[in-house]
Symmetry: C2
Subunit: 283 residues, 2 copies
Amino acid sequence: MLDKDKRILIVGLGLIGGSYALALKEKGYRIGAVTRSPETLRYALEQGMIDEGTTLPSADFVGGYDIVVFALYPHLLLEWLEQYQSLLRPGALLTDVTGVKGSVVYRVQKMLRSDLEFIGAHPMAGRELSGVQYADAGIFRGANYIVTPTAANTEAAIAICEELGRTLGFARISRLSPEKHDEMIGFLSQLTHCIAVSLMTCRDTEHLSAYTGDSFRDLTRIARINGDMWSELFLQNKEELLRQIDLFSGQLGRLRTAIENDDTDTLKEMMRLSTERRAFFDK
Amino acid sequence: MLDKDKRILIVGLGLIGGSYALALKEKGYRIGAVTRSPETLRYALEQGMIDEGTTLPSADFVGGYDIVVFALYPHLLLEWLEQYQSLLRPGALLTDVTGVKGSVVYRVQKMLRSDLEFIGAHPMAGRELSGVQYADAGIFRGANYIVTPTAANTEAAIAICEELGRTLGFARISRLSPEKHDEMIGFLSQLTHCIAVSLMTCRDTEHLSAYTGDSFRDLTRIARINGDMWSELFLQNKEELLRQIDLFSGQLGRLRTAIENDDTDTLKEMMRLSTERRAFFDK
């Protein structure tokens, strides 16, 4: 568990920032927040999700925190640091929750004051809803948390970042390079969202709900999607995501050819392999 | 509810046949079964899933039933009828549970004795497990049931077939032509299974479970698949399934192009549409 004396600041109180606040308050940490929205700030204070907060960062306020978690869209994280990093306390540890790493981590580390340290982290959890009012500490339980350190990071800071993941309740903490993270997430998360959106938009489906089984529902749950956030994440990981889409399309093409040619052997072999591999993902 | 005096025979005691037996026994019907496996027959009798059964159809046994449900792979259904339809009682109503209709219904109706009536039906329910030991009456609750009558069917028989669906506990009973059924199911069920199998086989994934969120798990749940059954269903609905795969691939290609061209407007518009359409499928 993270040292109880650590003061934690959350910048950005959306679904994930709010859920971090709830999970950390539950464990007894002192939590501050910065949000641009006065309504969000009032709501978070009223609900006891945070101890204090502001809509306008000042050195007095921001400088009081040891750990700063950025729960912002990638481009807003960069803007915030450009504008406000001078307010942070020397030695503060910065981390984030962004779903892409290669395009974020190196830029942040390059622009950062030399007496600050930034480590990327990706909490693999979410909901099909946005906003602080849907925050829920429970979304982290059983979920995966990936830390993406670079050569610029210290072992001590990496350890604190991993402790933060454990404190939040994540089941598994892993380390990946930003590049490897983006490849994995391109496949496991971004490709799956591309598939869901494509499936949900490829025909008029309003009248189809009387004919569905669970499979269509399962494959399209994530088609309910925050377009602002995901289009930014897709474009920030463009090259890798295009590779993953092509990999999948090639395999779907292989299956299509087998169907076209009545090639039962290939069909059964693909299904045998998919059944075998799926077993590793049962929770 | 189906008339309580109706005697119902289930031919084939796999997951679905067994679940029919359980659901109908719960409601107090007298249930007989034909299965090729002595172990399955013994198990079903021991568990009280059926009242009587045989591994070898005879006129004495089979001729005692008013309604016969075939829970067999498509080619076995045709073989069974060829060999044993002479044993059935005049006026018996025959139905099935097969996931394809166009290639089954017309052939069955064409080969059938003129004093028998066959109506196709598709219970949209299942599990990622096969075999009578996984039978579960609960899989029908909240699920959809599609009846696929043709010009060869009578209103009275269609009504009984629909009653059977209601008696089993299905939430929604619909009527579709065999052709429309195969188009819908090609899209909603077969395409989704093709996507799941392709996604699960397109790269080595054994080490990836530490990095997944729920989305990959959701999209690949049905990648645990009965290869014998699904390769037969795919090939029996080949033309329609190929059309649905191409429709989906075209839309995924559109999304890919938008990503490649940094076309945020198209990405957001597709996500807006997918979010709007997905709302119709929340249970």
